[in-house]
Amino acid sequence: MDNTVVSTGTEGKTWGGGNKPLNSSYGKMMMWFFIVSDALTFSGFLAAYGFSRFKFIDSWPIADEVFTHIPFFHGNYPMIYVAFMTFVLIMSSVTMVLAVDAGHEMKKAKVTFYMFLTIIGGAIFVGSQAWEWATFIQGDYGAVQTKGGNILQFVNADDGHRVALRDFVVVDELKERTNHERKNGLWFQSEGTLPTYTVEEVIQGMEAHDNVLIRTQIINEEGEKTVLSRGASLKLLKDNGKAVVEGANLHVNEYGSPLFADFFFFITGFHGFHVFSGVVINIIIFFNVIIGTYERRKNYEMVEKVGLYWHFVDLVWVFVFTFFYLV
């Protein structure tokens, strides 16, 4: 550290700020304190998620039924892709700590190589998260929202599997409702995208298909969502059905409570932003390593400091993974 800190002539004097408190350099200690405060921010988010979940403990979406996709494959694979993302992030933590270790031994080539791998790992993770968001926003099966804001999903009576709206609802070609755009009617007034189907079309589709039942948000004693009988399904849909929901945004989502989507966007978004900034900082340090800044400084502590931040991002993900996808 001597090469990075201006010598003040007070080294070793306790009240002169000369010696290192807790036997650690200023930069490293401040990184630790930043991490503590950031950890509290994230725990605030996760605890707020817990609050909302406890508030709707009998109707919260089941994560296994929400995150079931992996890129390039069709079918139902709960958790596999998130497990892969977790592994990528842990792996990039390993290459980071290997870079720090190589830095202690002043091996520039090795530090460069491991920093490069770390950046790649981070980029893969951020990309995966973007894909996860896109899939979540786009949705899969579609659902109907009731007047009370609850979500009604559709299942096949024969095997209990989910049924997508596109499988049993037919668009009425003669309907007159079209999306209102800025360019027509009232100037500069527009509305959000209309769903593919209307509630009336869903009701007709359901009447035409005897094997379609409604699944409510309420979790029964077996830990599964309640499926209604045919009569009750039709009645509920006709009495309370208000809007068709496809995919998710901050107001509605087809998976259940809107809060679930809000927290998903907010927590994974905030974490993803941390990963993104981590990658940017890693790139800066990577180029500093290449041009030999730390070689001249005879000290690779900067790599260690950015490494602390990077591991912290991994640490947070471990908790997000548990509380969002597992529990």
Partner: protein, 127 residues
């Protein structure tokens, strides 16, 4: 931190490594095993573990304990907490753990209360 004074044993001395690099790979293996166990349990959801223990499913307790174990190894070995002075360790860990436990307690307690109000009170949300 003295640069080459890494403590090279994990699991309370059960596993000892020859070099720091070796220890890093060892910890990776440990973390991967824990994650794999979590994923397998999360997909299979064995009936034995679905019973209620202390207000939560036993399976959820296992997930939380495994997560804390993972967090411990990331902090202690990847972030080198094992090699820092005891005082720095306590400044960071005790502060965070205390405040987080407090936050969790108070918010979950409140969430459970609001649930009861919805359930037994006059607020209707099932229409």
């Amino acid at each position: 931190m003295a640069d080459h004074a890494h403590k090279l044993e994990i699991l309370r001395g059960l596993v000892k490594f020859k070099s720091n690099t070796q220890k890093i790979w060892g910890v990776l293996v440990l973390l991967t095993i824990i994650t794999a166990v979590e994923v397998v349990l999360g997909i299979s959801k064995p009936d034995v573990l679905m019973g209620q223990v202390l207000g939560m499913k036993a399976l959820n307790w296992i997930f939380i304990i495994l997560t804390i174990a993972k967090a411990y190894y990331i902090t202690w070995d990847f972030m080198h907490m094992r090699d820092e002075t005891k005082s720095l360790r306590r400044v960071v860990v005790w502060t965070a753990v205390f405040l987080i436990c407090y936050l969790i307690f108070i918010l979950l307690q409140e969430g459970g209360y609001v649930f009861d109000v919805y359930k037994s009170g006059y607020i209707k949300n099932d229409f």
